[in-house]
Amino acid sequence: MAEGTLEVRIWRGGDEGAFGAYAVPARENQTVLDVVTEVQRRFEPSLAYRFSCRVGVCGSCAMTINGTPRWTCRTHVKRVAPEGRLTIEPLRNMKRVKDLACDMDGFLGKWASVGTFEGTATRADPPAAIDPASPARREVDAAIQCINCAVCHAACDVVAWDPHYLGPAALNRAWTLYNDARVADRRAVLDGALQPGGCHTCHSHGACTEHCPVGLSPTASIAGLKRAGLVSLLKGGRS
């Protein structure tokens, strides 16, 4: 496929808009982000899209590629468009700003709303001793490296259905906080996740886990929260 041309359709506009069609040279090493870049440089100078790190760290380049939400800087064209046809749209479930860029504020706001770390120690104290093999720390390790790319948020239909739903990434973060032994009030973190729009709104569709580019499983984290909620309820806790 190194030679030849890609048939590329790109969404132009906001909520209202239309697809633009472009013929982009196919290249040996080419990510979807490279395709978008080439369209901006050669055909559509005012094309809006977002990227920063170009290595899958910043989580700002995700788009909908042929119907599937993905990070674009690490998506090789060959893997998603063997036929050489690409349809590129902004991510779902967020307000659109322009073309391929959407407003991530709602998503990140939900993320930040599940709770921010509050410990008991200060900068005067040494870091807490934490057994790296303890079950709680393992849970954290398995879920912590989220790049907040919103791919899961876009993939989840419940997010689309229920505007109050916090969504997989935010709940995944809540789960890591809940398992962080240093957090002063873990109970409050859990209570937050048990509110309407919290973990019980998830129906285990699993689309989040299926699409997470870094291989996290928000489904497992949310299930963990549900279990923690059950346990605390059965132990006669609040909620």
Partner: protein, 112 residues
Amino acid sequence: MSEARLFLLQRLTALVMAPLVLVHLVLIVVAVQGGLTAGEILGRTQGSVFWGLFYGIFVLVAAIHAPIGLRNVLREWTGIGRRPIDWLMVAFGVLLLVLGWRAVVAVVGGGA
């Protein structure tokens, strides 16, 4: 009632129903063989304490389980407000309970 409590109730009722449904399914498949008559059904059930309990419990848990599930569906798929949905579901649960137990009484009690 809190989300956590509703969740617990729904999952608990689901757990209870799983074996009940299994039995019910087997029964249907076996019973329906060669057509179903009222006599057959009633013959099996009438006066049976076991089946009375079986279906009595079945109705109870289903009347808890279904409205909670329906509540989520309505929230997500319709524009109805949260409050109205909750009341609608309470009504639905009561309806199921009343109709269900009436059916149990009909099939198990009375008659022969």
